[in-house]
């Protein structure tokens, strides 16, 4: 046996060749496992989103039931608006007119809409002003935030109700969509209704900066910081001064 070294080399080559499919198989398995983990993580996120959605739906459901329980109440005739108030992201919005016949008429159930309606006292026919002002907000239908008609509906309603929330909502939405002129206008409108409303002031200042009136914005913000010592305002001031807005 003189060729043992050569035979050993051949065996090493053979072993490598034989193990090659195992290495490849293991590699494929690892990749598949990683992909599986990746997809599972993504699915988990989707489940979370779904869960949030379902939770929201659950919140809506009892309110709907409450509405129904009030269906038989006879009310004074008045007109209210239905609106969808979403989270701070204000990515989506639905606005829908809803006339509630409040005078001697049964109020019908509402269809999946967050509604500003007065709390009704079905035991007393005399309704106090305060009670009417207490409202419920229910989310119902969602459409895209780019819906122009949606904003117009909110604006229209604002001119009738002069609601701070509506004005602030419009200011935030327009700012988010890059319509800084309108954002500035609605922030001002909000401030007119509530002059201590910090958020509207900040949107107003930010809109000013975006429209190129940085000095004016800084002047307003500096005054506000001195007056309120607000941390949010200070942060915004820092960002504007450093052009990080």
């Amino acid at each position: 046996m003189y060729d043992i070294k050569q035979l050993e080399d051949q065996w090493k080559q053979y072993k490598k060749k034989k193990l090659k499919p195992w290495y490849i198989g293991t590699g494929i398995l690892v990749v598949l496992t990683l992909l599986l983990i990746f997809f599972q993580t993504n699915l988990k996120i989707n489940f979370d989103a779904l869960k949030t959605y379902l939770d929201t739906s659950k919140e809506i459901q009892p309110l709907k039931n409450n509405d129904k329980s009030e269906d038989t109440v006879v009310l004074n005739k008045m007109e209210v608006k239905e609106t969808v108030l979403l989270d701070d992201a204000l990515e989506k919005l639905e606005v829908k007119d809803n006339i509630i016949e409040m005078a001697e008429k049964v109020v019908k159930g509402h269809d999946n809409i967050l509604v500003d309606i007065p709390i009704l006292d079905d035991t007393n026919e005399h309704h106090d002003e305060d009670e009417i002002e207490t409202r419920k907000k229910v989310h119902i239908e969602i459409i895209d935030s780019t819906s122009v008609s949606g904003y117009k509906d909110v604006e229209k309603r604002f001119f009738e109700s002069h609601d701070v929330d509506d004005a602030l909502f419009l200011a935030k939405s327009y700012y988010k969509n890059g319509n800084y002129e309108k954002a500035e206008y609605w922030a001002l409108e909000t401030n007119k209704l509530d002059d201590g409303h910090e958020e509207s002031l900040l949107i107003f200042v930010k809109s000013k900066v975006k429209l190129g009136h940085k000095n004016e914005a800084l002047s307003i913000l500096n005054s506000y910081v001195k007056q309120s010592d607000s941390q949010e305002a200070k942060k915004l001031l820092y960002r504007i001064e450093n052009d990080k807005l």
């Binding site: 046996m1 043992i4 050993e8 051949q10 065996w11 080559q13 053979y14 072993k15 060749k17």
Partner: protein, 270 residues
């Protein structure tokens, strides 16, 4: 110093030696079947199987066992030509040598055989019969028709040889015995018995069931291939035992060594 594997290696030197004959279940069956066939009034018996299935050793075993009971002759290697074959046959039948410059008259030989009917019963074991020409096989058949001479024809089983068998012998009265490759159990018994016959108990014990499985996979149960593989395995072991003892495990034969032997013999490739 002599390696313990040297003796083991020599056990598996491929040869048709009656001393190397191993009684296995399958070989005992084949032997009995052949013996039984030879007792029948048959003219020719066909023994066939793939090379290395033990045809030659079986014929040797039959001749060795029955030589005192029957007039039995074993033609191990085929004659170079027809003349030589008939010279050989003439000597068997007449117990006389024919002068080298003479030829056998085939018709006279057939007549001679006919005259022997009832007086003598001669059995010719014809190994490697696939080497004979169809014409010669036809003459052998004519001789067997005399009923004084019985032929056991051993053939390699290949597609062509099956064809020869069909063409020349299928229509005659034949007993057909087929030898097959060994099963895993037979191969285990074969290897262990061969080693134990030479008192190599430790080495026989070092060949585990897992090794046999691998050996059977490479050799497909063929005895000749098994001999070749075992010879090479022990040759490698012998080398390591003498030169690099750290590479040999005396308790069991490693897969590595079996694979190396298989590579050397071409059962597996890089």
């Amino acid at each position: 110093m002599k390696s313990r594997y040297e003796a083991a290696k020599n056990v598996f030197v491929d040869s048709v030696d009656i001393d190397d004959y191993i009684d296995l279940d399958s070989s005992v069956t084949a032997f009995q079947q052949l013996q039984h066939s030879m007792d029948k009034p048959l003219k020719m018996i066909l023994l066939f199987g793939r090379p290395g299935t033990g045809k030659s050793i079986l014929l040797t075993r039959v001749q060795e066992k029955l030589k005192h009971q029957k007039e039995i002759h074993y033609f191990d290697t085929p004659a170079i030509n027809e003349k030589e074959f008939f010279h050989k046959l003439f000597k068997v039948l007449t117990k006389k040598d024919l002068p080298s410059n003479t030829e056998v008259n085939f018709a006279a030989l057939v007549d001679f055989c006919k005259k022997l009917r009832g007086k003598r019963e001669i059995i010719i074991l014809l190994d490697e019969a696939q080497m004979y020409s169809p014409e010669m096989m036809e003459k052998i058949r004519l001789l067997s028709d005399s009923r004084a001479v019985k032929f056991v024809v051993s053939l390699h089983k290949t597609e062509d040889e099956d064809l020869i068998a069909k063409q020349h012998f299928q229509s005659r009265i034949w007993e057909v015995i087929e030898l097959k490759n060994a099963t895993k159990e037979d191969q285990t018994a074969y290897i262990h018995k061969k080693l134990l016959k030479k008192n190599l108990f430790e080495i026989a014990n070092s060949i585990k069931a897992k090794n046999i499985k691998r050996i059977h996979k490479y050799t497909k149960g063929n005895y000749r291939e098994c001999n070749k593989l075992l010879f090479t395995i022990f040759e490698i072991c012998e080398y390591y035992d003498k030169n690099e003892p750290s590479k040999v495990n005396y308790a069991k034969i490693s897969d590595r060594i079996i694979e190396m032997a298989a590579l050397k013999l071409g059962y597996i490739h890089v």
